[in-house]
Structure formats: structure tokens, C-alpha cells
Symmetry: C2
Subunit: 463 residues, 2 copies
Amino acid sequence: MTHEFIQALQRELAPDVFFGEDIPVRFHNDWGGLSPVIPLALVRPRTTEQVSVTLRLCNEFKVPVVPQGGLTGLAGGARPIENGVALSLDRMNGIEEVDTVMATMTVLAGTPLSVIQAKAEEVGLFFGLDLGARDSCVIGGNLATNAGGNRVIRFGMAREHVLGLEVVVPDGTIVRSLNKMLKNNAGYDLKQLFIGSEGTLGVITRAVLRLQAKPAELASAFCGCPDFPSLLELLKSARQGMGSALTSFEVMWPSFYDFMTGKLPDLRRAFKEPHGIYVLIETGGRNAEENRALLEQVLSDALEAGWVSDAVLPSSERETKDLWAVRESVSEYGKLMGPLTAFDVGLPTSAAGRVVDEIEAAMKVRWPDAIALSYGHIGDSNLHLVCNIPSAGNDQPHKEITELVFGSIAREGGTISAEHGIGLLKKPYLKLSRTPEELALMARIKLALDPNNILNTGKVLSV
Amino acid sequence: MTHEFIQALQRELAPDVFFGEDIPVRFHNDWGGLSPVIPLALVRPRTTEQVSVTLRLCNEFKVPVVPQGGLTGLAGGARPIENGVALSLDRMNGIEEVDTVMATMTVLAGTPLSVIQAKAEEVGLFFGLDLGARDSCVIGGNLATNAGGNRVIRFGMAREHVLGLEVVVPDGTIVRSLNKMLKNNAGYDLKQLFIGSEGTLGVITRAVLRLQAKPAELASAFCGCPDFPSLLELLKSARQGMGSALTSFEVMWPSFYDFMTGKLPDLRRAFKEPHGIYVLIETGGRNAEENRALLEQVLSDALEAGWVSDAVLPSSERETKDLWAVRESVSEYGKLMGPLTAFDVGLPTSAAGRVVDEIEAAMKVRWPDAIALSYGHIGDSNLHLVCNIPSAGNDQPHKEITELVFGSIAREGGTISAEHGIGLLKKPYLKLSRTPEELALMARIKLALDPNNILNTGKVLSV
């Protein structure tokens, strides 16, 4: 059977199918940190029709198939399956159309995010999605995982940047819904099914993206607040005072801020005195004066009300970069901390202060030398938490830490995955964030679209 | 069998179930203009559990059930089915929670839109959805039909205002996904299935809505442009110059503008000279000066470039109202025109000028006395078109007009329904906007969720 399947792949897809040692190592894994897997075959299609052929064959022979984009996912969702096919979209790379009247761009799924961003800027527009992996990740993966990133508070998740999709469903049918219109209520909005389903329902091959007017200059301010309740008042006031000009509200707890500024000599602390909690506010007004005026108004009100103890309004690009450098130092974790257990959770914003205190304290009780650093896009209810137990060396108690953290999150009605998705790594915990009725409905949808359960089999949910 | 079913309804739902003459006339129809239908029974539940009981019984006895909200839909989607049950959400009316930190509001499905808008303003926030029927329509219906309306260009369709839903699926299962977080990628985003599916997949009983910062004052300008290509340049320039401050771009063709200002003596024409096409631009900056500055900048550039021939910047609320009065005179159609064939179509913005010319001309060729008025939210690619053939009296050639208009739209890759949905009225034409593969996928989803096809049976699509 396997032999027959391999022959069929060869016959219908050569020279774009690879086996064994011909499969480059980079297709063996994503950034999820699980052990690499060599798939039975790798297909690197150049056309949607080849994607269709691949799925049709896999469906006929009931062979699992794992769609792959830029392989930058953190949940193991694009890791191949042994005896399965890896289906990389990397060769379906290109911008097919830019429509400046509609403010849309039609792209192939394998196009890197940064290429899309650059093209939008080139025509005087702007693509609202941005994340650290922008040069490596591709739009198909961004959409399949409903990526979040740095600008969600202002521009929304990946879902909100899509107008149309072309998708291949498991039996090989090509479903073209390359809608370009902002309003289209003619029947079910099928694209919504595929966005965020992590490649378990269909393979995205093309997308019509929604572009935005180019935002004017950005400006930032850095604040020290006495405590979390004050920070919440500042958030409300910033949202009210800045409206859609508020582009970032990035919170750093002392656990994170003190650790990073202590370990990395290049990072400058903004204040002499320590504060209860820190936040970077970014605003995108129409010009530099407006930005400054907006920030000054919000900050002077907040200082007067006591919600902010001290604030810095940088006066040069250099100073702005210095402030952001602390928040962006997260790429240094590996060097500073050794093996990590890292979280991307969401929870009602008002509970975030209490939950962080609770988790950081519980970690110290359980592992007295625990390092637990907290920070996040709190304006989007998104909390990141990074843990290491130095005394545990390479044998980190990942499972125990995860159960401790997810337990707190679940009690508050939070989500175990705000932006990274479920993939393989978080699958055992999905039931903490979703009810049995929700899980049953997901399984029903999965089986309706993929009755042979071939597409990214075993990722997100079991059916 | 029917007798048994009626007994079961009585037993499990009295006193909230009604039969025959006890069913008030207003539940016999929506605003779609089809003939009224008296259903077998009307259920007016007070709780989600009663909705669940209703669906369970209908599913068991295989009786069609039609969910009803404010009954303001224009596509016949909420018209009852003979021998079916009408399920009105009108008694599930109320705001359950406002969370000013998260900027969310949790409401029951039968809550009127205007009540939600008012509550949001009361707490210093803003609900971004608005449409003419705001006092009569309810949020459950707005979400089930993915309503559009006046602020889509700035705030998006109904879908973009929802964070969580509670839904009852056809077998009676209650699926609670009352998420409040902006970011939540833990499994499939189930709510997306129900939003815009016009009550064919589940009954929405509760929603968590996303509120916005209150926009500052609005300001408007009215422009006469030489032709449609100039208008497009103005749109691009307004989008670029105003960014997210652009809240409306409402276009009126001379067919509409001349007819309405000619027929309604209270409407003032803004200019002495006629122009090729007219547009109302609205901006929502942070204050009156900023609004004026934004508009002045865009208009002076456009006048210089020749995209605008003449413009009015009203200097009082009274003058602003006068300008909008023309656009809002659409409620007078009934009196002015007699029986109508009305359209809510979408098409690539750049094609809208050509398509309107083509349709208006073809109407005149076919019916020399035809009145065809064109206007629309062109910033959202949404065109409205209203037709009457005076010589046809009460016997309007609806079908022929529809085929003529939808034919043009389909050729341009447009949509036969931008915001009103498909319901019953547009169902025969859905295939003009969607491919066979898309229709097959919709049917597959419908049957997966509603295997007995009881929920709003025969609306949107046949399975």
C-alpha cells in the first residue's frame, strides 16, 4: 500500500516530491521545540492544482498530510508526522495583484509576511499584521494560525486582515473564495472556518488581504505605575483619550523588567526608583506634534490622578529604541535562562494582576529558585510568562509548571493560547479553555470536512 | 404526529408557546415583502434552556423552526414556515454585564441595537454597529445576518464587534463560548460559523460584544465630482489623508440625487450647477478643529487636482443635517415611487461607475419609463439600486429586473448581497455569486450541524 502510494506521488507530482534523505532537514520540524520527524514524503507544489493532487492522493490512501508554511510556529502544529506527507507551500511565493482603489493585495500562501508589508508600503498603503518572525513566517501560516503580534490592539488579529481565500479541502476540491469586498453576505463566510484552524480543515493556497491607510509616525512613552489597579486606570484613560491612535500597551512586571535590565548590560533602566509595574504606550497619530500632544495629555492626567508615578517621553529615535529594547530583549531568553517553559495565555484584563502575583508566588513556593518573568500585550488581554528552574538544569519540570500556570488561567476563565495556537504542544490542555460541547462541535466540523482525518492529523484535537 | 408534537410543546413550554389565533400578527412576517405566513406554533422563550427544549423537540419531530429577532430583515429570512415553529427571541432582552476594563458588554440576543448603543455611551464607550432599524432590530438578528450599516468603513461589519457567543445548535445542545478576550486561539473560533449564517446553523442566545473608545465629534463635507474616476481619486486621497478618521464615504449618482431633490421640496440642493456624481464624506477626528483641518486638507488637494468640482463644508449642525437629509431620504421611497425592486449589491469599487452606467442604460432600453436610482456606501464597495417601472403599476417585472441587475454584478465578480443576506428572496440567485464548490461546502456544513435540516429550513440554501 505504502509502495503504491509512493508510486502515485511520483507519477503525479515528480519532480516536486521528495523522499528520505532528499528531504531537507529544515522540513523536519517547526519552532515548537519537539523532536524532529522525517516524513514519508515532502511535496513542494508550485500550483494549487498540485496541492489538490496531493490531498486527493493522501485522502485516497488515507495518509496523514501536514501543511507547512514558514515553520515558525511555536506549538508543533507544522511538525511532520511519521509515515505522513509534509506539504510545504514555500514555492507558492508571490504577490499576484495590488488594487489600490480597493486597498487589497492578492498573494500566494507561501509569501513571507515582510514581503507583503514592504509591497504595501511601496504603494502608499500598510499591512496591519506584524510579528517578530516577519522575515521567516509566510502569510498562509499566519492565516492558518490566526497570528497576533504587535499591533492587535489597533489592527486586530490575522483574521481581520483577510477578505478572501483559496483553499484546498481534504478530498482535493479547490474552493475559490477570492472575495475582495469589505461587505459580502452572500451565503456562509467560508474563509472563517479555515482561518485559525491550524491546517486541520483545509490548505490555504491564496489570499486576498485587506490593506490600511499608512499610519502616520508613531511615538512612545514609558511609565512606572504604583500597582496593577493604577495601570488599569491608565489603560482605560489611554483608550479613551487616544481612541484608535493607541497602537501598543505593553506591560512589564518587575519580575521581567528587573531580570532583563539586570542581566543585559546594554539595557538602560528608565527610572532611578523601582516601580510596581511598567508599561510602554505607543500612539500613532497623524504627525509628530499630534502624537506628543496625545501622549502628554494622557500622561499629565494620569500623573495627576496618581495612576502613573513617573514617565519618560523620549525625545529622539535613539531614546525610543532604548525604551523598546527592554521589551524586545525576549529574543535573548535562550542565552540568559537556559531551557524554558513559556506561555502565551489570555485572561480578562482586570484579573491579570492578581493572576500574575498568584502564579509567581506559587512558583516560588514549589521551586524556591524559580525564575518566572511576566509581561504582555495587556491591552489585548494577552499575557506572556516565561519560567525556568535553575536547579533543574536540563530536566525542567515542564508538565508541573504547565499544570500550575494553566490551572490559574482556567480558574479565571482565561485561554491557554492567546496567539500561538494549540498544535501538538497544548492539545492535552485544550479542555481547560473549551467546554465539552465546544470540543464536540469542533470534532463534528473536522469530520464533516475531513472524514478520513488526513489533514494535520492529531493536531489541535483528536477525532 | 403533529398532535403529539403540539402536546409536547405545550407540556414543556407552556405558557410560552402559542398556537393559531393566539399568535400575534407581527410574528407572521419580516420586512422582506413576501406574503405573511401563520406558523404552526410560536415559542417565546425566556431562557436559553427553553430555546434548547424547543430545538430538541423540533429535531425529534423533524419540524422546521425559524428563529426570529426584530423581524426587520429584508430578505425574508425570518418569515415563518407553514407547519413550522417560529422561535422569537424577543423576551430574551437585557444587558447582563458591562466590563469597562475589557471594553465588553454581555447581552441577551433579543436586546435592541439602540439599547446597546445607549448603554455603551452611558459608560463612556461606543458600540460601532449602526443601521437605520436600530430601534426595532435586535442584536441576535444583527449577528445572525452579519449586519452592515453606516459605519462599516470605519468599524467593520457586525462580525467584527463580537468576542463571544452562546448558541443552541439544532439537537438542543447549548454551546457556550462567551469569550471576552481580543486574542483567543485555543481551538476553532466557533462563533464565526454562526455569524452571518442567517439562523440556519444555530440560534444565538447571548453575545459578548466589543466596545470601542467613543469617537470624538463627527464632521461632514459634500462634494460634486466631475465623474466616477475623479471620485475614486478622492476616495484614495481621503483614505490616505484621514486613515481611520474616515467614517463615511456615501456616493449618490445623479439618478438618485436629482430624483430625490426634485420630488421632495424639503431637500435643498447643495450646488447651483449639476455635477457628474456626488459624495458625502464624514470624518471622526478627536475634536472639531481637527475634523475641519482634515476635511479642508483633503478637499483643497482634491479641488486643485480637479477630482472635486465644488464642495460644501457645513458650518452648523443644521447645515450638516440638510446635507445628510438627501442621503437619508431613502425612507420615502414607498411614497415617491410605488412598488420597488431594490438591490443591495457589492462589487469591486473601481467597476462601480461602469456598472451603474450599464445598468441604468439597460433599464431604459428595456423599459423606457424606468426609474433606476443608484447610491451606496462606495467606500465599502456596497451599491444600492432601487427600481420602479411606472407603466407597470402594481405588476412590476421583479424577476426581469433582478436578472438584468444580477447579471451585470455577476459578470464583474460582485456579490448579490453585500449586507442584507440571502434569506428566501435571493436564494435563487446565490449561484451567481458563489461557485459550485463553495455551495457544496456550505451544504456539507449545514448537514453536519443540522442533519435533519430543521433550522430555518430552505433559507439561504437547499440541502
